[in-house]
Symmetry: C2
Subunit: 211 residues, 2 copies
DNA sequence: TCGTCACTTTACCAACTGGTAAAAAAATTC
DNA sequence: GAATTTTTTTACCAGTTGGTAAAGTGACGA
């Protein structure tokens, strides 16, 4: 008979305050480590150290190391996609696109760990995220591509392939988080860098999208 | 007394044909595995299997697993940077830029493993590549930024921050290799995809760079 | 043909790593 | 405040992994 734990799948009562808090501590520590060392490069002991717990305690709150990774990806996915979701079909097309781009740059600056976590996962073939991409991202992506496409046909934006446009926005904005190590070498002088990047990217896409 | 091996640092005679061949086999297998699973996610046994050798044989040719990784990064770096190096200060500015972009797209399509190997390394903070970035990439990058900058001041290209321009070229072109798993989900229909991406990216930067 | 050197294979190991068992300690409930 | 449940800690284990020791095999020149 299996011991009853916080990860039991029997119809649990609502998780206690301690459970919610400790789960959050674990996920936060795991985010830092997984994003900078990858899944395989991170050990349970490292996660435990980083959040001041002991290894078996992690397994008390999550079934396995992989369960931590999956919980992390799932819990961050919605937030990560919220800017795309927020694109308003009734807004001004150019302003909506630039607002989206600005929000993506802001997230790249404010949440580089999240960006790198997803980058790590996708570069390695998205082994634990493919179903999620199919079921969650794909429908949203198709919908927003449709909106952008309509804007283009109405002459409000330069005509181009909407999917590739969105790819290029993702590529450029996330590049600043994902490849920060390289950028820091090539463009020292931390202070102005973020602002320089943000005005560059906004100007670039404004010029590109203005019909 | 240490055994004399192919990795000995005593003044070796030139490596035999077998050595060259086996080193290449190992590096090729390692490229496939490191690029799709990361350094920590790849085991020596996997590499050995992939090239039909036994584990201790790898250590005969390379001091350690890390030495394989470093040798791989070093041996690919020059090739990876050759398109940037090939930018001709005396050529037509717009054509030179577009040629560079086309070559980067081509490499993303033909050498996705290399792209992902570097992506993995840099996302994780470039632990084994930072010195190389400082010593090799940085000077080249600064030089080519200077060229681009001159072109802009001569009115041959749209004025913008040359470093960020190059970042955006890297971001967009390498995105197609590094995030292929995601793109395959969002834009199925393998056949036209590569061509679509290439015309999109070229058109995008042509519009952006044309003064 | 013999000896030397380059290369390969087998057997092995110590450290690490994900995970478990179970006792101890807190917290909560009655 | 005793009983019970939840959470933490200690001790441990089996499988994996990077790497070594050393014997074995083959090639090649004298």
């Amino acid at each position: 008979m299996k011991h009853d734990t916080a990860t039991s799948d029997t119809p649990d009562r609502k998780p206690s305050r301690i459970q919610l808090e400790n789960r959050k501590r674990i996920l936060d520590a795991a985010l830092g480590l997984f994003s900078s060392q990858g899944f395989r490069g991170t050990t349970l002991d490292q996660i435990a150290d980083a959040c001041g717990m002991h290894k078996p305690n992690l397994i008390y709150y999550f079934e396995s190391k992989e369960a931590i990774h999956i919980a992390l990806l799932n819990s961050l996915m919605a937030e990560w996609l919220s800017p795309l979701e927020a694109m308003d079909p009734d807004g001004d097309p150019l302003e909506e696109m630039l607002r989206y781009i600005r929000r993506k740059m802001e997230m790249s600056r404010e949440f580089p760990r999240e960006s790198r976590l997803f980058a790590n996962e996708i570069v390695q073939g998205a082994p634990r995220m493919l179903p999620h991409l199919e079921s969650t991202l794909k429908p949203l992506f198709d919908k927003q591509c449709g909106i952008v496409n309509r804007w283009m046909h109405e002459g409000k934006l330069t005509q181009m392939h909407p999917a590739h446009l969105i790819f290029s926005i993702w590529a450029v904005t996330q590049h600043y988080a994902d490849f920060e190590a390289q950028i820091a070498v090539l463009l020292p002088g931390d202070t102005k860098r973020a602002r320089g990047a943000e005005t560059f990217v906004e100007d670039m896409f404004r010029k590109l999208l203005t019909p």
